[in-house]
Amino acid sequence: MRIVCPFCGERELGEFTYLGDAKPQRPAADAGEDAVYDYVYLRDNVAGVMSEHWYHGGGCRSWLKITRNTLTHEISSVEPAAGVGAAKVGV
């Protein structure tokens, strides 16, 4: 498998680490135990197109949100995580 990192270009799978389902959002501090339990433990196991977190540890250390078909390994999009990149000067 090859992944086109938005910063490093097309790179080989071995440079990346897989985390998993990118859909669950970390609940707010006051969301309660059930919401956090769902976030920590419940994951979809999609046969088809799935949004996933990958880490380019062998390259630019960016976390990437990758849309991948788990049946064909076809990657349809690679986006950097929201907080990737330089300091937020003046934001």
């Binding site: 540890g57 976390w63 907080g83």
Partner: protein
């Protein structure tokens, strides 16, 4: 005296008769020529018997001339380089080659195990499953060893491989598998278009079937066309032709696996060269021009030496000028088989007869027969008589019911051709049936790949050239190359006609898979017993599971199954195709990553100095760390470690702690960020101070710990454990980039940038004052416990100094840029000499942390909470942090959890061992009363006894209780006392002093 090559033709062939090569087969000397394979040289020397079969030990000869060979498997080379199951048909001949046949004892001609044939009825399909439903120990002790002696293939060398293997990457626009007419035409078109081309050819010569079958291309003989084409390709700027290289696998994203046999054609690789090289090739497009494999017709005695695929016989005669037989019969069901007759006649061989299963034989062939004086029999071969000396007589069932017999010592067989569909099917592709050629052809292919020529079911020479050229041109365009491909090479297509025929009924064993001794009746039996699905058929009979992976045999097996189950062949279907296409040595996959290079080695900044001191090193992940520093006269590690601990506790010592993970945290939100990833608060840490921190996983379990110092308002310096340096960095980047993108904070891994040493003991300040600029105030007031700041060293180098203690002694950690680490350790030694400074290793470090009750790896096991470690009070209730909510779950705060407690044997002389279970005193050990276990142990020189830490149910409430340590693994039982985990200086006065 080498053999005389009695079966070598006087002229012709692509061999270099000026280079004679001597070789030995089963101890007998022979000679061949440069350009021979071992198989062709054996043919030239009249050797017909080359092996015994797997199950029945039947005599076997050479069946094919390629990597689909099931029979002619040999042990090649000797000693450490002995390689079993090597195909004689692809092994290139070299001077001094030594090969031995397999599966025979005491000799190939007199094989004791051939008595297995007498018991053949019990060796039917499913034999192993049916016969050995015995207790496991019978299987292991009796049957398996017996079967392994009787069956099986060659013997492995049994010692380490002395050769090197390499791994390499290559990138190209167009990758081409195969150098037959389709492959060369594809390379021409793609190369002329300006594409970067890599062509992989399994053979050592380029040309594919053209080398054996010839033909006319663009009005010139095939050999001339090949040499002109190769010259043109060589002149193109970016066309790489790789011979001895098999494309064996197709992976995601246009990545392909290929194995290059760099030096297999030599006795041993030249110095500093590799034996084989594993290629990972990334290609925008791939043209599979891998050709087709001629398939057998299954009949009784079809494994007799002398029976050979018709195309292979042409190869031996035309390419190698070696004659497998003197009097040849042909059994064919198609037009192509007749080419063998033409080749044999051209070489002056006798043709005994042609047995053609088709009702109509062309007028041209009939006139060839009458000119050549041999009969054309309409029917099929029903049996072959012969044995280890080869075929003698061929029985023919004529259409209409009559029988005939033909005297011949060689029988060429052609059942048609199967396109090589493996590469196109490796992504679970299912080839489709094509009626006119009665064969499976690719039905689509992995993205970016296309089949051309015979691999695509186009068998005519003109069609191969046309398809290959078109595919190469299109692949180049798809890869963005727009040069002119020019015109395609042109040739005529031969006539094509085939009447499917898979199996001729008859008496005697008719083999489908010759390597695994699977017969037609095994397949019929499998069907009767319900193993009709092809995947079941394969596993029940082992059809196609040998080293040739059924290249020649699978389709015939499917056809026989289809016939007995009353289905069509496409309804019966194929099994899943999986790489590798040819066997690939594990050594090639390992490449240079073996022995000491199995993984990278990280050396600490003081490594070379420590090695000079004679330190004993221990592997900690990738790191080599000094474990202890033995001195002359010390009898064991315990004596050395005890000395080191005492030296620190009474004087001063130092230890390289550079392996800790180190992360710079910068930015206005650095403090807020750390508050979210640690259970305790860092935003309120004063500049110039350090604080111990604990991280949880989001599920509430402890993840990692370490000290973090605030070096400036917007700059923290964070340390992790050695083991978690990488994972914590990844986790923190996830928190920063994904969970908290709004925070203005940056992370930089600086683990390798700083050399860090712990200096510990009551004389630490005395030593430091020798190193640090006298202007720096190291007093308790000027540099209090948990202080952290930059200092100048004598000589001007800047260092970071942290007043933190893992040992419980007055201690500092000092860090300097890694390039100064070696100088620092030498200065420490020199400056510390008057104070008796003692280097200590990881063992002494561990002893002192246990004496001090600090948790480490064995307690940070991924199953402990902060409260389990006695650190529950660190959890802030005023902020959110990773793991906060889940850490509050009922079971994680239960009162009866196993928590960290000190443990010491009641008998001071008794040894304590980690892993021992803790049970209540006086009770019989069992899972019901297992209350925990010992996690860390050491011999404490300070307390003069073995002590430890453990995780024990309600441990902190039970201080002083005597419990029982149960250690069934080592057969030890003893009483221990639960105690305060801080064995040494519980008030902490020493580290603050």
């Amino acid at each position: 005296m080498a053999g005389v090559q009695a079966n070598r033709l006087a002229n012709g062939g692509l061999i270099d008769r000026s280079v004679s090569l001597n070789f030995r087969f089963d101890g007998k000397s022979f000679s061949g020529f440069q350009g021979d394979t071992l198989a062709s040289a054996l043919v030239a020397n009249g050797v017909k018997l080359v092996g015994r079969s797997f199950k029945y030990h039947r005599p076997r000869g050479i069946l094919t001339a390629g990597s689909e060979e099931p029979n002619a498997l040999v042990e090649l080379r000797n000693g450490a380089r002995r390689e079993p199951n090597t195909k004689a048909t692809t092994a290139e001949l070299y001077e001094g080659l030594e090969a031995a046949s397999q599966n025979r004892w005491p000799s190939l001609r007199h094989d004791f195990m051939s008595v297995n044939q007498l018991f053949a009825p019990i060796f039917v399909a499913g034999f192993y499953y049916k016969t050995f439903m015995w207790p496991a120990k019978f299987w292991e002790a009796i049957y398996e060893p017996a079967i392994r002696r009787a069956a099986g293939l060659g013997r492995a060398a049994g010692v380490a491989d002395p050769d090197h293997y390499d791994k390499a990457w290559a990138h190209c626009d167009v990758l081409i598998a195969g150098s037959g007419p389709a492959g060369l035409a594809a390379a021409l078109a793609a190369g002329r278009s300006g594409a970067r081309v890599i062509l992989c050819e399994e053979d050592f010569a380029l040309g594919g079937r053209l080398l054996s079958d010839g033909g006319t291309i663009d009005g010139m003989p095939a050999a001339e066309w090949i040499s002109r084409t190769l010259a043109e390709l060589a002149a193109l700027p970016d066309v790489r032709l790789m011979t001895r290289t098999t494309l064996f696998g197709v992976y995601d994203g246009g990545t392909y696996g290929a194995i290059e046999r760099v030096n297999d054609h030599l006795p041993s690789p030249p110095e500093h060269q590799v034996r084989q090289r594993l290629w990972r090739i990334v290609a925008k497009r791939c043209v599979v021009a891998a050709g087709a494999i001629e398939r057998p017709i299954v009949f009784a005695g079809n494994d007799t030496p002398g029976v050979m695929m018709a195309s292979a016989m042409r190869t031996y005669v035309a390419r190698y000028a070696a004659t497998p037989a003197k009097r040849v019969a042909l059994f064919t069901n198609n037009e192509d088989g007749w080419r063998t007759v033409e080749t044999a006649l051209g070489a002056g061989l006798q043709i005994a007869a042609v047995v053609d299963a088709r009702p109509d034989v062309s007028a041209a062939h009939r006139s060839l027969a009458s000119k050549g004086g041999f009969p054309v029999l309409n029917g099929s071969v029903s049996a072959v008589d012969g044995g280890k000396d080869g075929a003698r007589k061929i029985s023919v069932s004529l259409t209409g019911g009559a029988r005939a017999e033909v005297e011949a010592d060689g029988l060429a067989v052609s059942g048609g051709w199967n396109p090589a569909v493996a590469l196109t099917s490796y992504h679970r592709g299912r080839p489709k049936w094509q009626d006119d050629i009665a064969a499976f052809v690719p039905d689509g292919a992995p993205p970016g790949m296309v089949a051309a020529g015979a691999a695509n079911g186009a068998f005519g020479l003109g069609a191969c050239l046309g398809q290959g050229f078109a595919a190469g041109a299109q692949a180049a365009r798809d890869a963005g190359r727009s040069g002119k491909a020019g015109s395609a090479p042109v040739a005529e297509d031969g006539a094509f006609s085939l009447t499917p025929l898979w199996h001729v009924a008859g008496k005697g064993k008719a083999f489908v898979d010759q390597q695994h001794d699977v017969t037609a009746s095994d397949i019929e039996l499998a069907q009767r017993e319900g193993f009709e699905s092809v995947e079941h058929l394969k596993r029940y009979t082992t059809l196609g599971m040998a080293t040739d992976q059924g290249k020649g045999s699978n389709v015939a097996g499917l056809a026989i199954m289809a016939a007995v189950s009353g289905k069509s062949i496409p309804e019966t279907g194929t099994t899943i195709y999986r790489p590798p296409y040819v066997p690939v040595a594990i050594g090639a996959f390992a490449g240079h990553h073996r022995d000491k290079n199995f993984h990278a080695t990280r050396l600490t900044p003081s490594h070379h100095w420590a090695a000079e001191q004679g330190a004993i090193f221990v592997d900690t992940g990738l790191w080599k760390r000094a474990q202890w520093y033995p001195r002359a006269g010390e009898k064991d590690w315990l004596e050395s470690v005890t000395r080191e601990v005492k030296a620190v506790r009474s004087g001063v010592g130092f230890c390289d702690v550079s392996t800790l993970g180190k992360i710079d945290v910068h930015g206005p939100d650095a403090g807020a960020f750390l508050d979210r990833v640690y259970i305790n608060t860092f935003s309120n840490l004063a500049v110039g101070k350090a604080r111990y921190g604990l991280m949880l996983r989001e599920d509430g379990m402890v993840y990692d710990d370490g000290t973090t110092s605030r070096l400036a308002e917007d700059h923290y310096f964070l340390t992790t454990t050695t083991a978690k340096a990488g994972p914590v960095m990844q986790h923190l980047e996830f928190c920063r980039q994904v969970l908290f993108p709004e925070l203005d904070v940056q992370l930089t891994s600086v683990s390798d940038q700083w050399a860090q040493f712990s200096i510990a003991g009551p004389m630490t300040r005395d030593l430091l004052r020798e190193l640090v600029d006298p202007a720096e105030d190291l007093s308790n007031e000027g540099f209090p416990f948990m202080g952290a700041r930059e200092v100048a060293l004598r000589g001007g180098i800047k260092a970071r100094l942290f007043r933190i203690s893992f040992s419980g002694e007055m201690a500092f950690e000092i860090s300097v840029p890694a390039r100064h680490g070696d100088a620092l350790v030498r200065n420490l030694t020199q400056a510390g000499a008057p104070f008796g400074v003692t280097p200590y290793g990881t063992e002494a470090l561990g002893v002192m942390r246990i004496e001090k009750g600090h948790v480490a790896g064995p307690e940070l096991s991924g199953t402990t909470t902060a409260a389990d470690l006695g650190l529950g009070k660190m959890m802030s209730t005023k902020k959110d942090f990773i793991g906060r909510v889940m850490a509050g779950r009922e079971a994680l705060v239960a009162a009866d959890r196993q928590v960290v407690v000190g443990i010491k044997p009641t008998d001071k002389a008794s040894r304590l061992r980690s892993g021992a279970h803790i049970i209540p005193k006086g009770e019989t050990p069992g899972p019901g009363n297992d209350q925990g276990y010992v996690t860390s142990i050491c011999f404490s020189p300070t307390l003069d006894q073995w002590i430890g830490l453990g995780l024990v149910e309600r441990g902190r409430e039970r201080i002083g209780e005597i419990v029982h340590a149960h250690d069934p693994l080592r057969g030890e039982e003893y009483d221990v006392e639960l105690c305060n985990p801080v064995f040494y200086d519980p008030e902490g006065g020493r580290q603050r002093g």
